[in-house]
Symmetry: C2
Subunit: 716 residues, 2 copies
């Protein structure tokens, strides 16, 4: 790489000692004015140097005609100039030795014009070559609550909100990131430590900012709002690092739909890969994907405090029977479990609620609670110490302040998460809302469904982390042969490999395929059939005939020598009449496989995340119902099994409707092996389609396969 | 029916001229005290008579020793006595000529005890026999904001909230209905007219209260929260009446899951039928089903004002590009459409945003808007008059008060719905929140996803209403033969009819079945085969062999006389060895049907809604993936087609993957006919299973069928 070594430590970017703003002004109808005012107001303790040749002083600060005139080298420079002047300002920064700049100016790739794209490419190239790190262009800048540094024009940043917290925000969009996410999170009682709006990401991207924040000791949860991913590998490394640190990342990704993708392209110039693949990557690395901005902080509220539920077993109680029914419903629908209380709990509850019979979970304590001042507290204490319970979520309608105090105290005392749900309000003290409880570090919600979704996310994240910590380093499965053969490494010039060549490649990676034999004559076909044993299948072998069935090139159930001989001749004749110019290698003879559960196993290359492995049932399941599980390749066997469990049709693998169960270990093995093949040949193979892969009670068998080579155009 | 004619007009129940409360007190730690205080505080203008033998006066009101002593006959009496004393109080009411009573007391069916159930049954029998109408027991009572009458102990009812509105609430659960729904709706700016908490529904139920509210001119939207449905027919009549009135009903139904159903049973004693069937009934009658209490009023906010979007075409604009991307995504995901602006709109927007290029929808007006004071208003006006746009939903982050005024004015002026989304807040006037906008009758939301769900619901309700208004009166399809035959009306004593008898019944209703012929000898089978034409199918015909394949009783693809003869003998032998005692009628000879798309068509009797028709694809689609559409029977052909469209696998009917399209009209006809069969025999037939019904490019054919008779035990 030309130029300087690039730094990946963003400490001085987020916490500069000295800062300059090129294009600062005291006219607050202009961006440069709002930016300077905000930076001043937020209470930056370092040195701040406005740069503007037309002013000598701005709000009491000396103003400098150029960066060269600034008395010390700033760690971080903000640039608010016309679009065409940005690159020169960056060069000036570099000449002065400035390591970090943020370009607020818009008018680059997001305009969709060739000129805008070229100017953005120039910034990217400059950063790459100079080693200087550049945020933006077209961004809202950064906020660091820990060190009281904010270089942003967002009007969302009231200084009274500046108490540092434990939740970090990365957003490409400035407005949505600072208003819908940061400001709203703070209103909800969440405290934030870092915010970055990365805009068009000519250089610094969301993943890199996120990694910095994850490494910061104060960060407990990361919230991301992203439109597109610049570098899929870097994104996955960030996600993996988050998992290593045990810090959950909650992600809102726009551009899932065509309308969204179009809007994203004209907003930050972001291009989005396949949404299904992004979903799969989230699952793979334990990121929690949400659907709207509010769900980011609603989920974070539950994930703060490093106290994940040990399992999915939840308990609840309420004075409102209707809320007991509703929470029971929502909990079960989301896959949470309502365990029966342990014996000790039952005994203690029976003492508290003597007329009650056997207390069920969730517990309706209705009118029995009235008149008994400490009944709720005693019931909560009894349930809190129950070993059957992983998380508690009492529901209040119009709680007394003392009751909310009790629940806050309980939550702060015991080692399992306690979540307060208040569907009404504390009528005796209206300021005692869920926001105040959240402000004390205790999860609290107004809606049962929101609370339960957050609890489900936390339980799921706990499950992910336990699995992640058991993960071995990814290791190539045994028995992969890399000795050269005609089909390996890839030879020839055809785009699609023949079935036989495709299967040879699969076999090299240990995916079981039918023992196909090539026959160039009817006699040879007959000899092969005798070797294999009847019945057999005959198929045309031609690089120029991809759709063998359409070409009359497949004959099944051939049970006699006469049938084989006739089929051989018919296939060759059909192939000639289908495509007279086709190169015909001969006819494949294969055993007629026993029927089993037909799967579709494949790979593709995602424009963001590279090689991806995919599995689903064959037929309409994959094509019409889109019941397909994806993962970034390679995967291990455990992840491969998780893919199968994800399928809506998974029950078929377990043997429903009197069918036998299928060999899940063998299917997972095939997925794992195919994922390594897709990984190893990521630059050469654009697509693999094993269809069908037949799953039996013992073992699997690929009956047909197609490997598609990457064309020149596709190669990056 | 014994006893008096029962009244169905609840006017004096909800708006009594005189009221007595039996069990009133001035001790507000007791229910009777809170009830009296609340009724007084709410400002009831009629005569209020507390009844309590231990008091002479309560808060300045004269108190009477018994109902007999009250100076006039109350229209409505509230009862707050011990459980065992309730029935005597009701008798006293009846003796005094009181038409309506509300029993607040708990301890009845919800206890799950035989005693509790018996006491509730006594109330039900008393109401039935006396003609008096009784609400409860175990309920929270009623509120009528129109006439300022509240007989409820809910502490949610501050008198300052008492301005009457246009949204009605019916809930079985009192706490959830008055807090999570009513109080929260009011906090959100919604105004309510009626509230009823129906509790255990010994007599008056949610459907009857809902019908009263729907008929009230002030009601524009109905919100229901229900645990179980006492009378499915009455519920459907209520839903149909709502549709006739064009008043949307938004419904939260608990007890969807096993945990929820258990909790509901121990809360109000409610038993729930199949959740899928309830879902289907909602679709059938245009009720909007939601998942949590807040969604009731969030949806109602959009449905008030009698201004439904004419279609799904939405427009949005925002100064925040990130919010434009997010709304584009969420809208498309929910099935809303983003039309291109019309030419006139494009021209006007180009004038307003000169540097902007072609404005897309949703429209990002970013920084261009700053400095131009009336830009937003001009852009909104341009889009509002666009004929391509059915509904507008601008997104604000930190709007100025003047901007919110503009949007409210626009919404109140134009004839299409305008929805304000404010993801942040009005910083210059914090009291100017979405609640204030909602209070002005204009839909407003904080979350994009909530707004879009509500818009989608409103658009969907508009579509339903347009379809509903085109619906004919349900009419029995032509060609149904009711002439008596051995199989019709149902004869015999077997629980499951034979395939042949089942098909004869289907044929009577015009469902196409294979022309099966019964053979008692091999010669007869051969003769039938010649008549039908080869190949044929042979199947055992025995009332004692339900699983014909398991018994070796089915032979397919019989292409020769020899094959038929051999199969006949084999089938009889197999049947004898399977069940020597089985009565064998003979062997069915049927044509070997051509392959086609295999459906499962059936009926069942739901414990709540009675006969239900169901359709889905055969095989794992119905059994594993539960991709089945249901409707209460009977249905017309349009509704039958809607069932097919609802299936996830619907694309298969249109001919995906090179397959031919299927005869949707013929499938719908078969559904319609089967629905009438299920309807006509609702008391005799518990289940019909046509599997497979094969759908061809032209026509359908039932290859196998099973009709199951209702057993004594199942008959109500």
């Amino acid at each position: 790489m030309a130029g300087h070594e690039r730094t990946n430590c963003l400490s001085r970017f987020f916490a500069p000692r000295a800062v300059a703003i090129i294009g600062a002004t005291d006219d607050t109808t202009r961006f440069g004015g709002r930016l300077l005012r905000q930076t001043l107001k937020f209470g930056f303790a370092g040195r701040l140097f406005p740069v503007n040749p037309k002013r000598a002083e701005l709000w009491g600060l000396p103003c400098f005609p150029s960066l060269a005139d600034v008395p010390e080298t700033p760690d971080h420079v903000g640039i608010v100039l016309q679009t065409g002047k940005v690159i020169d300002a960056l060069r000036e920064c570099h000449a002065r030795g400035v390591p970090y700049a943020t370009v607020f100016t818009a008018g680059f790739a997001e305009t969709g014009t060739a000129e805008g794209r070229a100017m953005q490419a120039a910034i990217a190239a400059f950063a790459r070559e100079s080693g200087m790190r550049v945020m933006g262009p077209n961004c809202y800048g950064v906020i660091n609550f820990n060190d009281r540094f904010a270089m942003t024009a967002s009007s969302s940043l009231a200084p009274e909100l500046a108490r540092p917290g434990n939740v970090a925000v990365v957003s490409q969009s400035g407005g949505l990131g600072t208003v819908n996410v940061m400001w709203r999170a703070m209103q909800a009682g969440v405290r934030v430590n870092y915010v970055a709006s990365t805009g068009n990401e000519a250089d610094l991207d969301a993943a890199e900012c996120a990694t910095f924040m994850l490494e910061a000791p104060s960060t407990e949860v990361l919230m991301m709002a992203i439109e597109g991913i610049k570098d899929g590998d870097a994104f996955m490394r960030m996600a993996e690092r988050a998992a290593q640190l045990g810090k959950p990342a909650v992600v809102l990704k726009f551009g899932r739909t065509q309308a969204g993708a179009r809007a994203a392209a004209s907003h930050t110039g972001a291009m989005t890969g396949s949404d299904e693949v992004f979903d799969a990557v989230c699952r793979q690395f334990g990121m929690i994907r949400v659907s709207d901005a509010n769900e980011l902080y609603e989920t974070a509220i539950m994930l703060r405090g490093k106290r994940l539920p040990r399992g999915r077993r939840i308990a609840s109680l309420s004075l409102s029977g209707g809320n007991v029914v509703q929470i029971a419903d929502v909990g079960e629908q989301l896959g949470l479990e309502w365990p029966a209380y342990g014996e000790d709990t039952r005994r203690r509850l029976a003492e508290i609620l003597p007329t009650y019979g056997t207390p069920t979970n969730p517990t309706d304590i209705t009118s029995l609670a009235s008149g008994q001042r400490d009944l709720l507290k005693r019931a909560l204490d009894a349930i809190a110490s129950d070993a059957n319970v992983d998380v508690m979520a009492p529901v209040f309608t119009f709680p007394k302040a003392a009751e909310l105090d009790q629940i806050v105290q309980l939550a702060q005392t015991i080692d399992k998460p306690v979540v307060a749900i208040v569907t009404g309000a504390c009528l005796e003290d209206e300021a005692y809302g869920v926001e105040r409880i959240v402000g004390k570090g205790v999860p609290a919600y107004r809606e049962i469904s929101t609370a339960m979704s957050a609890i489900r996310a936390a339980a799921g994240y706990g499950e992910f982390l336990r699995g992640f910590r058991r993960r071995d380093t990814l290791r190539r499965p045994s028995g992969i042969s890399t000795a050269p053969t005609p089909a390996f490494p890839l030879e020839g010039r055809e785009q699609g490999l023949t079935e036989r060549a495709s299967k040879q490649l699969l076999a090299r990676y240990g995916v079981p395929v039918t023992p196909d034999m090539l026959a160039r004559s009817a006699d040879e076909a007959l000899a092969h059939a005798r070797t294999i044993g009847f019945p057999v299948v005959l198929k045309i072998d031609s690089p120029d005939i991809a759709h063998k069935t359409d070409a009359g090139g497949v004959r099944l159930h051939l049970a006699s020598e006469a049938a084989v001989r006739a089929a051989f001749d018919e296939i060759l004749a059909a192939a000639r009449s289908y495509n007279a110019a086709a190169q015909v290698n001969g006819v494949i003879v294969a055993p007629m496989a026993a029927p089993g559960l037909e799967l579709m196993l494949g790979s593709l290359v995602d424009s963001t995340f590279g090689p991806v492995v995919a599995v689903g049932l064959g037929g309409i399941h994959a094509e019409v119902l889109r019941d397909i599980a994806y993962r970034a390749a390679p995967v291990d066997r455990i992840e491969a099994q998780a893919m199968l469990h994800e399928l809506k049709a998974f029950r078929l693998f377990e043997g429903v409707r009197g069918e036998r169960p299928r060999d899940i270990a063998a299917i997972a093995d095939a997925i794992e092996r195919l994922s390594w093949l897709a990984h190893d040949f990521r630059d050469e193979i654009s697509e693999i389609d094993v269809n069908p892969l037949v799953a039996y009670e013992r073992g699997v068998l690929a009956l047909d396969a197609l490997v598609v080579r990457t064309t020149e155009r596709e190669t990056k």
